[in-house]
């Protein structure tokens, strides 16, 4: 390992906090964060499925927890994460194919990702409310 004093005297490369805030940057980190939420969120799906497989008592217990307002809030957050991450994924596919790299398109698509994610989450929430 490098000597600590030597490492400290080296010039540091510009880090996150020196950059001006831009939308594409924010959407990049939100893509990663929503991915992290979904990672943890799979526990909710697995527990719910295992409860359903374990019989009506277990299902009622777990489903009851999910029906509380905090449970519903978490599930709504996960639905948003899924939709936002999915649209973010489409952006990544576009970049992989070589499209959308110019700043104007990149910014527009980033804004679209944010707005469409929220709107679609709203639509899913309303649809779920109607079906319930």
């Amino acid at each position: 390992m490098a000597d600590a004093r030597l490492a400290a005297s080296r010039p540091l490369s510009p880090h996150l906090q020196v950059f001006r805030f831009i939308l594409t940057m924010a959407m990049s980190i939100v893509h990663r964060i929503t991915g992290g939420f979904l990672y943890v969120g799979t526990v909710f799906v697995a527990v719910w499925l295992v409860a359903a497989a374990s019989g009506p008592e277990w299902f009622a217990r777990v489903d009851g927890l999910y029906q509380t307002w905090i449970g519903r809030l978490i599930l709504l957050g996960l639905v948003w994460s899924l939709i936002h991450h999915a649209i973010g994924g489409i952006r990544h596919f576009a970049w992989d194919l070589g499209y959308g790299f110019d700043p104007k398109t990149a910014n527009l698509f980033a804004l679209f990702n944010l707005v469409a994610g929220l709107v679609l989450t709203g639509i899913v929430a309303v649809a779920a409310f109607i079906f319930a």
Binding site: G36, Y39, T42, V43, V47, L49, V50, A53, P56, A86
Partner: protein, 130 residues
């Protein structure tokens, strides 16, 4: 030999012979599972909406439908793999301490496997009508 006289391109190294000996495997798996998860998540969201307000027998009947079970198993399978290799990148980016990094990567594998197996066992049990 001068670089300009070589017919080899760096693609050779990218295809399975980079320093990690895995080339673009990780990148490609992330895309394939991403496309699959994108399509299957549409089914998943529709299913979620449909199941709202359903009682236990109705939920089990829906999940036990072979078409639903197959699509759900596929969705959970690709999602678990997608999230496993995704979290691997996050750990590799942020966890620098070697021992901690190895432990985090292991926990990531264990967690992903556990979630995948639990969901799969539950779905299979329901669809085989237990």
């Amino acid at each position: 030999m001068d670089k300009s006289f070589r017919f080899q391109t760096s693609l050779k190294h990218a295809r399975g012979f980079g320093s990690g000996k895995s080339g673009t495997t990780h990148f490609w798996q992330q895309r394939v599972t991403g496309v699959a998860a994108l399509l299957l998540s549409l089914v998943y969201v529709v299913l979620l909406i449909k199941l709202q307000g359903d009682d236990y027998p109705a939920v089990v009947a829906t999940l036990g439908n072979p078409f639903v079970a197959v699509l759900m198993l596929a969705f959970l399978g690709v999602s678990v793999w997608h999230m496993k290799i995704g979290m691997q990148v996050i750990i590799e980016d942020y966890v620098n301490q070697p021992l901690l990094r190895v432990l985090a990567l292991m926990v990531n594998s264990f967690f992903s496997a556990l979630v995948g197996i639990a969901s799969a066992v539950a779905l299979i049990k329901i669809t085989f009508g237990a």
